[in-house]
């Protein structure tokens, strides 16, 4: 008699039916804010910095809707289709039309190659193994693009991933970049991405190493000006240490030539723009850039968690008479969170960014000024869970910002903003 209830339970679970089970994932943030001087909330960022401290400092509605479905799963072989539509609007009105971006459309096949168990082959557009620092919303290794490849090959001691990715860069129809007789509007680029992840170091954490090589693809009628490098590479080494119920990541990156430039992240960085009235181009594509980041999320006590980041980036591209974007960017910040309960917390975010321009950057654009931005935010937050990563979250915030040299708004280098914001991911 004991069997029957279980039989019913097993059968209920096994014979369950559901119409078209589609997985729905995504991200969304939205809200309202204002400046204490009147007018809309102003997002504060140091001029020339690659990112900004985001808490209480985001002024747009941004969303990503991902619909995915497992199309096949048998004997460990699995096919999964994923999509992602993203949009961003000003959050100024009810009706804000937008042209959504189709950011992902990909099929991933798992365990399809008998000799490579656990490996995944894929083709399509996708977010490709992105690495970011959440507190400043900075994606320092992001080669997301249309492409294809194989991921997660177990080498014993490391997992290898190889991908071919597309980079296309606009020239803005600039004949100084394109061939001298016809103005090229864009250049197709190819990016080869090779990564070795999950290199375990015992108690010393784990390591991920990667190399990206990308090259513009010239044609008979579309050639680069000889002053522009046609290719470049980026090297990344990332060390992850699990500490204090969280992690610390230490990252070293070096990029050369066509992949170097401010905020480089593993793709071709484009051709810069014509700066000022002189019509010079502020980026020549040859030279290098490097960066060091230390960031993480840790639990300081059962009630306190913290995000933090320290970052230094320097670009050093050749002048070649065009001027450059060369600058140094230094950033340091923390976001502690005190948890009153599983659903309520108080957050503070303190961030400091400093940008120093190179002389060659002032040649390209004389209005450039060294500047540093200090930003402090206090937020009361209600979130679904006790983690600093728990979402959705509703928050009320006050943000103070001060730029050392540049007026932020309303003839003032200081600014106070406040508002309400929601953030969700699922």
């Amino acid at each position: 008699m004991k069997i029957l209830p279980l039989a019913a339970a097993v059968s209920a679970a096994l014979l369950a039916s559901q119409a078209m089970a589609v997985d729905f994932h995504g991200y969304l943030r939205s809200g309202i804010g204002a400046s204490s001087d009147g007018g809309d909330q102003i997002a504060m960022k140091a001029d020339g910095a690659g990112a900004k401290y985001r808490l209480g400092n985001e002024t747009e509605t941004y969303g990503e809707f991902k619909f995915g479905q497992e199309l096949y799963n048998e004997d460990g072989k699995r096919f999964y289709l994923d999509t992602n539509m993203a949009f961003s609007v000003d959050q100024a009105n009810d009706w804000e039309s937008t042209n959504p971006a189709f950011r992902e459309a990909v099929v991933v096949g798992e365990n399809l190659i008998e000799s490579l168990p656990g490996a995944k082959i894929w083709a399509g557009k996708r977010f490709y193994q992105r690495h970011d620092s959440h507190i400043i919303d900075f994606y320092y290794w992001n080669t997301s693009a249309p492409g294809g490849g194989i991921e997660n090959i177990d080498l014993g001691g490391a997992k290898m991933s190889l991908a071919w990715l597309r980079n296309t860069q606009d020239t803005g129809g600039n004949s100084e970049i394109g061939n001298e007789w016809t103005e090229a509007t864009s250049f197709t680029g190819n990016n080869l991405d090779l990564r070795f992840s999950d290199i375990q170091l015992g108690n010393a954490g784990s390591l991920e190493l990667g190399v990206n090589y990308a090259k513009y693809s010239e044609t008979d009628t579309n050639k680069l000006h000889s002053d522009f490098a046609q290719d470049g590479f980026m090297l990344t080494a990332e060390h992850t240490l699990p500490i204090m119920n969280g992690f610390n990541k230490f990252v070293l990156q070096y990029a050369s030539d066509a992949m170097a430039g401010n905020g480089f992240s593993g793709s071709l960085t484009g051709f810069g723009n014509q700066a000022g009235s002189t019509g010079t181009i502020s980026k020549t594509n040859s030279g290098n850039a490097w960066r060091v980041i230390n960031h993480g999320a840790i639990e300081l006590s059962s009630n306190i968690e913290m995000l933090y980041v320290g970052l230094y980036e320097k670009s050093d591209l050749d002048n070649k008479g065009f001027g450059t974007d060369n600058r140094e960017w230094f950033s340091v910040g923390v976001r502690p969170m005190y948890k009153w309960s599983n659903t309520m917390s108080t957050l503070m975010e303190v961030g400091y960014d400093d940008v120093s321009w190179d002389a060659s950057a002032r040649i390209a654009n004389p209005s450039r000024q060294d500047n540093s931005l200090t930003k402090v935010t206090l937020a009361q937050q209600w979130q679904a869970g006790p983690s600093i990563w728990s979402r959705p979250a509703l928050r009320a915030f006050v943000t103070y910002g001060n730029n050392s040299d540049i007026e932020i708004a309303n003839d003032s280098k200081d600014q106070v903003t406040f508002g309400l914001q929601m953030e969700a991911w699922w």
Binding site: K2, L6, A16, G246
Partner: protein, 305 residues
């Protein structure tokens, strides 16, 4: 016709084994922890006294679910008593007349109250015990945090009178392994998850448990089987749809005794290996080919798991 129905049913099942495996991966970590304290699981336990206690408890303090759903709180004011799997704070829920699917969920935050459920009859005798090994882990979604879940069926016609919800001594020594929220976030956003270990959530003696009773209507045909691709949908479907045991398929001709034995052996082996997909397929195939014992073998193997 029957064949195509069966294959459709199989397609419907494809998504499920992965979820079962996931649940087991988590429980394996816990099982080891349980063994550490397993000597406590068989503590001196005077069954007569306990039965009397259970009986009186069932009659006096039982919660009658008005809305089929309730939050059971286990705090300093909650009574406790010695139970077969260890002393614990407990709550009693009355089972109404009929067959019910019971869903029990415990939200996982910094800690969790890991439920153990005793099904008792009118005499206070324990008919069935569900504890750590029967729990499954449901990862967090936008709508809910990580949860320990337990689903089973009770039938008042088979004597089930009440449920005692408590925790066990072994569970209090165990932990629940969940994926680090930083990794969960990374996956939701298609980022590379940080290479960090899972969290081990402490089991505690106080907390909350959600319970829901859903009346089962037996012998109604389920809707046409449709592709189920994820744990959550399979589970939701199991919770939301009334499903029944279908009638035993009749075979054209009986199976050779040797073939039948082979099938049963294979079913037992698959269940033992926790390859539920294979076990179920073998059972269905054997039954289709005329085995009269495959279904019983399958269910018994599951029962003994």
């Amino acid at each position: 016709m029957k064949k195509s129905m069966l294959s459709l049913a199989l397609i419907g099942l494809l998504g499920l084994p992965a979820s079962i495996v996931t649940a087991q991966t988590y429980s394996v970590a816990n099982e080891q922890a349980i063994h550490l304290g397993s000597d406590q699981a068989t503590l001196e336990y005077d069954s007569d006294i306990a039965r009397m206690a259970l009986h009186s408890v069932a009659n006096e303090r039982a919660i009658h679910l008005g809305s089929d759903q309730a939050t059971l709180v286990f705090d300093r004011d909650t009574a406790s008593m010695a139970l077969p799997l260890g002393a614990s704070r407990y709550q009693v829920v009355q089972i109404p007349q009929g067959q019910y699917q019971v869903n029990i969920r415990a939200d996982i935050y910094k800690s969790v109250f890991a439920p153990t459920v005793y099904v008792i009859d009118a005499q206070g005798q324990i008919l069935q015990t569900y504890s750590q090994q029967q729990l499954s882990l449901k990862p967090a979604t936008a709508m809910s945090p990580d949860q320990l879940q337990l689903t089973f069926v009770v039938d008042s016609q088979q004597g089930a009178q009440a449920l005692i919800i408590a925790t066990s001594a072994a569970q209090l020594l165990a932990t629940t392994e969940i994926e680090h929220p930083a990794r969960q976030l990374a996956k939701a956003r298609s980022n590379q998850p940080p290479n960090i270990p899972n969290l081990f959530i402490q089991h505690v003696a106080t907390g909350e448990v959600q319970i829901r009773l859903s009346k089962m209507e037996t012998h109604t045909q389920p809707a046409a089987p449709i592709l189920v691709t994820s744990t959550a949908t399979a589970r939701d479907a199991a919770q939301n749809h009334q499903v029944s045991l279908s009638a035993e398929p009749t075979a054209a001709k009986p199976l050779l005794a040797e073939s039948e034995a082979m099938y049963n052996q294979a079913i037992n082996k698959a269940v033992a290996n926790k390859d539920h997909e294979l076990a179920l397929k073998l059972m269905l195939e054997a039954t289709e080919h005329g085995s009269t014992s495959a279904r019983a073998t399958y269910l018994e193997a599951l029962q003994n798991l």
